[in-house]
Symmetry: C2
Subunit: 343 residues, 2 copies
Amino acid sequence: MTLKKKRVKLEDIARKLNISIATVSRALDENPRVKLSTREKVFKTAKMMGYMPNQIAKSLSSGKTNLIGVIIPRYDESFFIEVCRGIDRYVRKHNYKILISSSRNSFEFERENLISFERGLVDGIILSPTHETETFVHIKSIINKGIPVVLFDNIREEVSGADHVLIEDDKASFSAVEFLIKKGRKRIAFIGGIKEKKVFQDRYDGYKKAMTKHNIPIYEELILHCESLDRENEDTEIQDFFNNISAIPDAVFTCTDNYGLLTMKTLLKMGYKIPEQISVIGFGDLGLGEIFVPSMTCIAQPSFEMGEKAAELLINQFNEPNDVNHRKKVLKLKTELILRDST
Amino acid sequence: MTLKKKRVKLEDIARKLNISIATVSRALDENPRVKLSTREKVFKTAKMMGYMPNQIAKSLSSGKTNLIGVIIPRYDESFFIEVCRGIDRYVRKHNYKILISSSRNSFEFERENLISFERGLVDGIILSPTHETETFVHIKSIINKGIPVVLFDNIREEVSGADHVLIEDDKASFSAVEFLIKKGRKRIAFIGGIKEKKVFQDRYDGYKKAMTKHNIPIYEELILHCESLDRENEDTEIQDFFNNISAIPDAVFTCTDNYGLLTMKTLLKMGYKIPEQISVIGFGDLGLGEIFVPSMTCIAQPSFEMGEKAAELLINQFNEPNDVNHRKKVLKLKTELILRDST
DNA sequence: CTGTTAGCGCCTTCAT
DNA sequence: ATGAAGGCGCTAACAG
């Protein structure tokens, strides 16, 4: 009963039916060149015997695995999960599955993951570079092997040699900060992430441009570049920041939803009123901002769509005859300022 | 330059070195039966030629893919992502990767995913059944094919035929509700999820037991079983619930962090003070509860650990000589009530 | 319409 | 210490 049954294969069906393996294979493929009656017999027998095709054998033979590798900096950031959902949704329609790996914000791990995908397990790769990633050679090496690659988010110049999809971080933050200014705020703080990360640099640039355009001085004291790579330390960093500030700002522009929420929490605990005394804006709009009281004004980033688009670019590469004529494609997605109670 | 180079394989190395494929294979395996000098030559040449082993060929030949399939009801629930992180962390040490699929809360999709894993792509499967899953046959069928399976969370009797890991939902909620009672609360509301889901049934049982034990009447009006399977509708359902209640409760026990947060948001907006007038408890403790103001008291569920343990059970099955002697193993993990400002 | 044959790239006896 | 050969399960080109 609990006998370890051997998997049934094409050969077994062929033998039972006294026909060749090739015919069985073709029949199961619904190849019209096989007589209908034979096809039916084969289907029936296959079902009866509990036949399941061997994906690995198929892949080896066909040269396709129908797997797509996805490398993200971390699992525990809703943004990346949303992107993965988008990718998954899109590629599933084309009969692909995704294999997700985390680079844990480390360039070394990113390289390792890439290499492990180089072993023929995946037909293509979608990657979001870490803040440490300053070179394109590891990616280029993959592309040279004929494996399609698409990048998303956090693409710095040096890494921009492949198809990629992103948002215009500088413009998004510019308009958010300008919105604060037009609301009459002047002492606007900026909270970003690690300086090395391109998206944070761009968001900082947008902040500076908006301030400069409106002739508002930028005070070092009001700038925080969080260095933490995990939740708990972010919290501490932000609390310390506000505790050490000489005069509280009248608005805070933050570069992630989490920074925004932690900022609101800290300020509320310090006794300030939001938005009466201080406005706060987050970045991402991944659900939490809406629940918080007061709900948080956010720059909404189309994460799910970013995944879908990245997947689309990849699938398109699959269908291109050869890479020689491949022109790099860059997709810039729209962001939107969602107004809520925190401003 | 952008020539589509063919992948280099063992044969290429063998030819270049004028030795056999077998020797190359063994050399790269660091097989001591190969002369050291040969081994070195092979390594050098392999590196020089940019050799990368073909994972698929390896898998076909060895019968192992080193892939583990994971099926979760949804991607956008931190709990499942945390479990996946735990699984990933554990299996990575044993040189496995995970392939995550979502059943989107549908039994049909769960079955489909299972079947697609049955095609030899994965060496084992970790699955969290949907609320719709009332049968074990689809899982049993996988097990019968010799593919190890481990389940986690939401295991009802009918589905409990495989190794699994869970928490004692009833006890956890019992103690949380009893805690509220001991704090002097009497009019305690319950907010759970779809009735069909075992974990919610158990959490409801715990609530009822605690109330009964302390002779507190249970009012239907104070009970809500949310039916929504996505965020937005949950919000509406909970708002409606409180808007239609005749007399507001003095405490609310909720079955997920999200329900808890939405409850707090709704109550705060209605003008109630938390915890002065109403206490709120969440379930999960996945980070948001700590940020909210007031911070939320939660039952902490060891999600990450649940993943690690599930992975461990699976890897152990790999190492067992045969399944005939396999005794089903059940792991019950500890929960903890984390006290914060909402109670 | 069906069968034969030759791979896909690697591993693994069995020889030598 | 190395080579030759068969096999993993399936696909596809070529015959008939």
